[in-house]
Symmetry: C2
Subunit: 119 residues, 2 copies
């Protein structure tokens, strides 16, 4: 009986996480958001700073992030035309999560090194 409740709580949490990953779990989405944490950026800036992403992927991911209200797109009236991307309030609310993830990533790399050396 108690076990069933536990399972329910588990499933509820899993669904919440699945939702989150749908939003930010694309191959590049968090990287893009992380990039914008350091200030507003243009399309070409992001293209340079997020290693490995192609132009096609970038524009696609940007579009989805905009749809989900994570980022905002502003057209600058420069010539030639420029576009600036910035985080919305919602996007900004991910900053702390991003920091935690990045920290974990670095810790993980160290931990892996230690485990490997034991072999």
């Amino acid at each position: 009986m108690e076990n069933k409740l536990k399972t329910k709580a588990c499933e509820h949490k899993i669904r919440a996480i699945h939702d989150v990953m749908y939003l930010i779990g694309g191959k590049w989405k968090i990287s893009i958001i992380a990039c914008l944490c350091y200030g507003n950026k243009r399309y070409s800036d992001i293209l340079n700073e997020v290693e490995g992403i192609s132009g096609k992927m970038l524009s696609r991911e940007l579009k989805e992030l905009e749809m989900n209200k994570m980022i905002e797109r502003t057209i600058l009236d420069t010539k030639p035309i420029g576009v600036e991307y910035s985080l919305t309030e919602l996007g900004t609310s991910l900053k702390s999560i991003i920091d935690i993830l990045a920290d974990w990533g670095i810790t993980y790399r160290e931990a892996r090194k230690l485990i490997e050396e034991q072999i």
Copy 2:
């Protein structure tokens, strides 16, 4: 000059996050880890609790998670054979991140509702 340093820091963090997402960003990986946060589980338990996953995907993801030292696989000597999966220390270290993500997911849903209503 100062700007270049900033860009470097940015790119470093982005790479760290990209690594993390490579590890836990598969369609099901965090869900599986989240599921195991609630206790060791058998293959069939996970199959039931992670909604939507197929057997093929589950075994594939479990294998990758094991390779990356996130989970451990123990063969029980029951008949018929049973297999139990559990989190390693590394996997366990994700618990807090998972909680934060799940919380954000729920908060996000509320925020989106508010934004939508304004329209």
